[in-house]
Symmetry: C2
Subunit: 214 residues, 2 copies
């Protein structure tokens, strides 16, 4: 499958490399065609990997994964172009994190979420919020942690949520996905981030996950 990974940070690198390893053709999208981090990734990741502008990557991908930083996501997706995103699944992995005050706050919260903002801005795209509640090493390798643990999907299109659940299983080995419902339920996983950061601080590791016991 042709997959666009938008964003050149550690999340984009980790997801992109795992998808190439799984045999997919992946284009990493960046602000510029010549982004050095994207070029270095494509060079290292082998013949299935390429890189380009946000727009060229979005046009290339059958599925788009938003790995940009949450505060830059809407601008990045504008550059990707609504027509290039139309009709496609956009997996939104980003979190609207702002540390400018010296400690974490979310730039959108409580009565709205980044997932909803993206869905409103791109109504022809099937936005599915997922994977934003864990470190990227855990995203692509849930077996790093014992037992079953939680990954969520939120989106307005039930078929898209089911497709994404299938991708999470096929690509990364997630055995069970918790379907929270429409995109407004993305508020919950996004609002988990302050607790996640506190847990990272007290446990001194990023290799953990939140899960549900019942």
């Amino acid at each position: 499958m042709n997959i666009a990974v938008l964003g050149t940070g550690s999340v984009g690198h980790t997801l992109g490399s795992k998808l190439v390893e799984r045999g997919h053709t992946v284009m990493m999208g960046a602000r510029s065609e010549s982004n050095e981090r994207a070029a270095a990734w494509a060079l290292g990741a082998g013949p299935l990997a390429s890189h380009g502008s946000f727009a060229r990557a979005a046009a290339f991908g059958s599925v788009i994964i938003n790995c940009t930083s949450g505060t830059a996501s809407l601008a990045a997706l504008e550059m990707a172009g609504a027509d290039n995103l139309a009709g496609k699944i956009l997996m939104d992995v980003a979190n609207p994190l702002d540390y400018s005050s010296g400690r974490l706050r979310l730039t959108v919260v409580n009565t709205d979420s980044l997932g909803e903002q993206i869905q409103r801005a791109f109504p022809r795209t099937r936005v599915v919020k997922t994977l934003n509640t864990m470190n990227c090493q855990v995203m692509v390798n849930p077996g790093l942690l014992p037992g079953q643990h939680a990954v969520f999907v939120s989106g307005n299109d039930a078929q898209a949520r089911a497709e994404v659940a299938g991708y999470l299983k096929d690509w990364f080995g997630w055995p069970a996905v918790i379907d929270l419902g429409d995109i407004t339920t993305a508020r919950g996983p996004e609002m988990l981030l302050p607790l996640w950061v506190s847990l990272m601080d007290v446990m001194d590791t990023t290799i953990f996950n939140v899960t549900i016991v019942r």
Copy 2:
């Protein structure tokens, strides 16, 4: 131990009854001395149980548990009286939930929390946020769910957090408590509520808990 349970809802009833069962003397505090729900609880819970105004209960308790609804907590604690709360541990179990818009939002979030508001309003009280991330049946009986699962404490006084961890173990059987740090970390557990409510909806039960796998 003399314990004040402020609030006459299901959380207050459930915690109060469990504490009486464990041999503690418990006064349920309410807006009025003659609150019918508090009186009925005290009658049913036996000789160790009593009820009174918020102020009389707060004066009675060596430890105070805030089980009022989060949007009414500051007013209830004002009625309890700063002098009656001074020097004591206040376990804050409340969540600032507002359903007036038709769906859940928090009345304080992201850059502040109910726990912090209470600590600022009552600087002589040792506020510890805890137990707000689960149904009250799970609070008093973690064995309802398999394995170890998570309960958090947040508060500015490390000794108070340790004391509360001891109470959670002795009173209810929590084997391990996650100490998140100062009261600003209460934002994380409070912001878990939107996800908790979504999970309740999709799993159709309140008997579950969020936990951490590492």
